[in-house]
Symmetry: C2
Subunit: 240 residues, 2 copies
Amino acid sequence: MKEMENLSSKQVFLSDTELFYTEKVNEKSAEISGEEANHLINVMRYKVGDLVNLTDGKGKIYKAKLIKIQKNTAWAEVVEFVEYQKTNENIRVFVPNLKSKDRMRFLIEKLVEIGILNITIFDSKRSIAKGGNNEKWEKITIAAIKQSLRAFLPNVYFEKSLAKIDFSNQIVLIFDQNAETYLSEIMFENDKNYSLIFGPEGGLDESEMNLHNSTKIKLSNYRLRSETAIIFAVSKIINL
Amino acid sequence: MKEMENLSSKQVFLSDTELFYTEKVNEKSAEISGEEANHLINVMRYKVGDLVNLTDGKGKIYKAKLIKIQKNTAWAEVVEFVEYQKTNENIRVFVPNLKSKDRMRFLIEKLVEIGILNITIFDSKRSIAKGGNNEKWEKITIAAIKQSLRAFLPNVYFEKSLAKIDFSNQIVLIFDQNAETYLSEIMFENDKNYSLIFGPEGGLDESEMNLHNSTKIKLSNYRLRSETAIIFAVSKIINL
């Protein structure tokens, strides 16, 4: 039987801790199916009686004991669980569709690891790649919360255009090389909502830049790739 | 002839600016050869009379006029140049060899874009991948300064072991999940030298952690991948 870590003290962050994701878990019991079950049963070779860490992506991490394993599904009894506080909920990051799928994957992974809960990928006027791939992005997102042992599954949305997004009650910050306000001049407050908008390789076009009530932010005197600018800015803002 | 940007005002950071790297440039003339020449001549199709942006990686960016092009070499007359100040020279980043080559490439690229000038890649006791690939890393580094329009080519060293490195006159910060000092508690001062040491997937081992006079730093309550932790920490520290 795998050794049980002391979940309650939040010392779950060992380098070899495995976290599995399932929607089918409550305070008493859990069912793991699909790819997660395959990984649990066939790759990691968990057996009946083993303890497993689960998250529902809704704020809880469960410790559960496997009671039954069939071909592609495992069932478990919950032993204990910890409920986490949502953080950084007031930060939304708007990511332009990037040409390179590798860079896109890497970017989403990093944003989730760093703790961004709201990511909107949009087709920018100058985006070369167009269209959403929600299924693929969700896979990356689930893998990243498992990696970083996070209890909340971020929302990754796709929008065809920035113009379709409702920015009411948001402080909108648009990152732009030609801006004169530096990020360090912005005081982030927990009780306000921030939408951070970044451009693609060729930059945002004028109509995208002219969203009402936005503040243009200069991040650097250097020319950063989109994903670098995004990860850099978010790292500056987020406290882990 | 390509339009000449006003280099002196430092408004060179247009999204379509091309910067070429050559060691053979002085205040009067330049020679571009090898891959850079191939890109200039055959891919970008520059012609005699065109203006080209060059850097020597030693702090200058030159504007030069092409005067002669042969098969795989181009010669140019320097029209003007701008000398840049070195920044962040007091920060050294120690990167453990990572298993994934993609993650390694991405990490080096991001560190260079963000402006780190001293990168030491080392075989950590628990590194799965071992050994250096200086030629490949230099390629990544050159590509990243061209991308970010930087005038300094960072030093990327390889060391077989942390134990071989001289940390005298350095404030050594070791990033460790179990540390109790947070990064935000460290006040970075420009006139002090900092060595930031990060562990590989499995963490640093005890002998690596016990470097004399090091401060252990906790970055996050979450489990970050090595490259995420490094990019995140460096983004917090560096001002662009």
